[in-house]
Symmetry: C2
Subunit: 638 residues, 2 copies
């Protein structure tokens, strides 16, 4: 096995220029399609009107057509009487052609009709062409309707039809072929049970969806195993097909099974191998038979970011479109984000509006974690020249959702509880609000409240001295703030163990047994405080416990560690054990509260939260999780 060597590593802008310069004139051919179906397509040449609109002088109102001159002098004192149906006036409806001898329309509201409906009295004159839509008032035949490279909108369709253009010449949709590769991959559509050690292929579906959104038509080939010949044949088949762009996913880095770069090199030219972005570094930009061929990274977030940076702009350019720029907003950064110099980072962020500011928090970095992208509503780009951003600074975010939706995002930072997911679901069902929770432990949540970086903090911090939950910490950390403390649930904490409790863990003292390997929660979490308190009461020392230094950040992560057999047990809530069909040995019950600055209680979003947690929908869903009580849910403690 060789060292990873990137053949031609480039910064983003340079890589993009090296690539797109080769394909600057690769716009797709044009085709003529019905204007009815043209919304979302791009004009291939200037479009000029064939007919004027209106194509005749038309009544702009319901009323009577007249010669304006016959109405001159009409007033309250000297009303004018018109013979309707004779030569003087004629009933006319909006849109009807104005007969030749008339040059104005009097609105029906301004006419007093005699009983015979044949005489109309008016008390004010009209001027020539009043209430008339003149020929060409909207569109003049021969005039430019749309230039080349114009993205046709729904209203544009109406303009095309009105201007007598039943069809329009547009750019053909670019064709893209996506080739998923990897011996470890399975197609979940054809594989009911995923064999151990195999991975579900998901990149081709997301890249296909991104390509469709960019106006392309997509072919996804079956999964190709990591065998040079098959892949070579498939790549050449794709290049020789109608495809305008070919994407090979993955095999773009330089492991022993990473054939992509060798194949592109053999069949064509590698322009760029490696881009100094993260995620997305192992991107290959190449060319075979004068067609763009991209080797896209295997990790899902890398694959998506690389595709958005290189393939989407190429697909847009092929249709004659400029690159769509994401909407940008300024936000206050809620945490330090260190970054490695020399590489441009795309951090996935959760952003919400607190007071008049947007506040943004980073999600995990891992390129392998697709949920960092599905949970994010914004992206923070940290330049290669930067070593990161500091908490409290103002940063530019690229928005992944409409700004209104980001402003309707309620930030919930602090301890994790499964009931927050129930609340999230109920909010989406019943309101325009989204609950975005990030898990930093109870103490982290309290500090976020202190610094105006969250709307809500979930907390279950026991004060060992008083035996009280949360209030002593609020007194200590939040004395400057007017705080509402509202109980969400009571919940059982205990030992999560394998089904049947094979290692017979019953009490806190069992953690000190030599055969037991424990997994801990991070310091600052309520569960950690609880553990330390129980150890203290039992006279045990952390050093006595194997695995005390191994930390996870959520109850579910603890449960997964137990399920995977890597540890014997961890402290967590019953619902987490239930969720994975594990067993549970109760240790204590604790109170889990929501800490909310009192000033936010007036917000419609918080009002909705408070009303939902006391609903029967909520208590019913909580009961189904097991290990919870809602006996004090919604009670304001402070």
């Amino acid at each position: 096995m060789k060292r990873k060597i990137y053949l031609n590593m480039q910064p983003l802008a340079e890589a993009y220029a090296l690539f797109t310069d080769k394909f600057a004139n690769h716009t797709t051919a044009s085709e003529t399609i019905p204007s009815h179906e043209a919304s979302g397509r791009v004009t291939a040449c200037p479009v000029t009107a064939r007919l004027s609109a209106p194509s005749f002088h038309a009544a702009a109102m319901d009323g009577i057509a007249v010669q304006a001159a016959t109405t001159f002098g009409a007033s309250d004192d000297s009303p004018v009487s018109l013979d309707i149906g004779g030569k003087q006036a004629l009933f006319i409806n909006t849109g009807q052609p104005l007969p030749d001898s008339y040059d104005a329309v009097i609105m029906i509201e301004h006419i007093l009709l005699a009983e015979d409906q044949q005489t109309g009295i008016i008390r004010a004159p009209v001027y020539p062409w009043q209430n008339v839509r003149k020929v060409g008032e909207d569109i003049v035949a021969t005039e430019l309707l749309f230039p080349s490279n114009h993205l046709i909108t729904p209203p544009d369709v109406a303009a095309l039809l009105t201007a007598g253009c039943p069809d329009v010449k547009v750019r053909k949709k670019p064709q893209i072929t996506i080739i998923p590769t990897g011996s470890e991959l399975v197609d979940i559509r054809t594989t009911a049970i995923v064999p151990p050690g195999r991975t579900i292929e998901s990149n081709s579906a997301v890249l296909a969806a991104l390509a469709v959104n960019a106006g392309a038509e997509v072919t996804v080939t079956p999964i190709i195993a990591d065998a040079d010949d098959t892949l070579t044949t498939n790549v050449m088949d794709a290049v020789r097909s109608d495809a305008d762009v070919v994407v090979i996913n993955a095999g773009s880095s330089a492991g022993s099974a990473d054939y992509t770069v060798k194949i592109i090199e053999k069949l064509g030219e590698v322009l760029v191998h490696g881009v100094t972005i993260m995620p997305g570094k192992p991107t290959i930009l190449g060319m075979i038979d004068n067609k763009p061929v991209i080797g896209s990274p295997g990790y899902p977030v890398s694959a998506i970011i690389s595709f958005e940076q290189f393939v989407v702009p190429l697909l847009e350019a092929m249709q004659g479109l400029s690159t769509t720029q994401p909407a940008i907003a300024r936000a206050i950064l809620a945490r330090d984000i260190p970054s490695r110099g020399g590489i441009e980072e795309f951090r996935r962020m959760i952003t919400g509006k607190i007071g008049s500011n947007l506040v943004t928090l980073p999600l995990k970095k891992g390129a392998g974690a697709i949920t960092t992208l599905t949970r994010a509503n914004s992206i923070l780009r940290i330049a290669a020249s930067s070593e990161g951003e500091t908490r409290g600074s103002k940063v530019n975010l690229e928005l992944l959702r409409p700004q209104s939706q980001i402003e309707n995002t309620l930030l919930c930072t602090g301890s994790h509880d499964l009931c927050l997911d129930i609340l999230h679901d109920l909010l989406k069902k019943n309101s325009p609000y989204t609950l975005a929770s990030t898990h930093v432990g109870s103490l982290g949540g309290i500090l976020a409240v202190r610094d105006t970086m969250t709307h809500i903090a979930g907390s279950h911090l026991l004060d060992p001295a008083s035996g009280e939950y949360n209030t002593p910490y609020i007194t200590r950390y939040l004395q400057q703030k007017n705080i509402a403390l509202i109980t969400l649930v009571h919940r059982e904490q205990g030992f999560i163990v394998l089904p049947g409790n094979p290692e017979n863990i019953q009490t806190i003292s069992d953690l000190a047994r030599e055969d037991i390997c424990f997994i801990n929660r991070q310091s600052g979490s309520g569960t950690r405080v609880l553990l330390d308190n129980e150890l203290d009461k039992a006279g045990l020392d952390p050093d006595d416990i194997s695995g005390y230094d191994q930390e996870e950040y959520t109850h579910m992560a603890v449960a997964v560690a137990v399920l995977s057999g890597k540890v014997s047990t961890g402290l967590g809530i019953r619902a987490a054990a239930n969720a994975l069909n594990l067993d549970f040995v109760p240790l204590t019950e604790e109170r889990y509260d929501l800490i909310i600055p009192a000033e936010y209680l007036e917000l419609a979003s918080i009002q909705t939260v408070l009303s939902l947690i006391t609903s029967s929908q909520f208590s019913k869903a909580v009961a189904e999780k097991g290990g919870y009580s809602t006996r004090e849910t919604g009670i304001r403690v402070l």
Copy 2:
């Protein structure tokens, strides 16, 4: 004919509430679809993960799998040697499962391989689980992936597949039936030549495109004539079909052919008839057999705005989505916009970025002019309680295009010339910039430059005293500014007449003939100044000329007035006559310049303009129009 009476006129918010309250629980049924096809759909219930991801401990890097403990102590001074392929270490690629006895991966870059490839030397330890993606690190089986009512994005598709969900329960697409009505309408797909007095039906296509964008499936019925029985039958057929929503377009006001309200009243209930918005007032919101039935206005802009305000949010709500809010931006208003109190106005605006501010100009008001919507890139809503907005004030705009595209819009305010359309087309073809021209006459353009309300002003203002174009006016009005004056074209001005010049118009004196009816340009336009100068030279008085007081705003509008037979002639450019196959009697040649504040010459957009006007593409296209010379194009006069 009766007076127009709106049965139940309501302000927008009240009308919306009256309507949507009736249909609050009308979400569509759910259906299960492949996750591969789910991008853009909306979850019908909470989606939980069926599998964890990774589903096994997996190598996060290419390298060798080891037990971390065997690497402890490795350093530059005491490298550790590992037997690869034996029990100590194993080659592993990214994504492969970590065999049971190992708990870490050493990156291939950090291993010095012996020649036999079987021994690896390392100079630093790894800690347990380093470079390993642990089970459930991304997704834990049973956890909430997405709540109800979640709009599925492309990355979400990857999360669904990765979490073992090959399909997903989503809301069915709402079905909408659109019934175009009107005896005057023709379908341009089936009617090669539009008969005189008939109108091309275009609303159903634009409403259908808007509905598709809102996630609906659309049925458009054939055009129904204004005959009560046919329409009644068709409406009932639609209501009894699978349609979730029925839209009748138009016949929603109260003219003699406006049957819609009567039909809804007869078959069901009219909730709202008339909304105090403009355009969009004659909207009917009704209900038949518990289904929403909308009578939508006939004017295209009214139809679109009414549909966007009432039908699009309904279609979104039926899928469980909140109403999409348009992006908002602040802009400086370049003109006064008076507004009638008591009615909420939706003014179509052109907006561009000048310096650090967005600047916005209103387009025409007419609800019949679809081009006011196709040319607009933003909407200014003027509240019913307001009597308008004043020039220079900051207003909130709803953006119809991405902000980046609006910021790439070059404002060109002033005199109209057809060569600006050529420039517009070349810009779209060769750059990300859009030229948005509004026609206010040469003097209007100069004043816009003075007030920093435009990037470019087109001008051909003759100074009669000196015989010079533009420079005397720049001295007079723009002495505070550093101005670049750049010639665009020379062009012939003359009399636009019917083919064959049947009225034998040859000189300026002919305008004073009794049998000649003239059409003028607005005051402040260069053509008006030219006319007045020529009249003066010929010793003629405006009062001598019949039609001197009738004004049009563009050359093309003058040409259309001649073509329609309403006037004998007007003064304009040869290209306008050519465009409509009219004849042209030359009077003089004039210089048409671009006035650009010198500080903008540095802008990439203006640089592009200056390079394009001196291109052969430009001069060739200009020559084709006729009546132009590019002999001095691109020369900087000032």
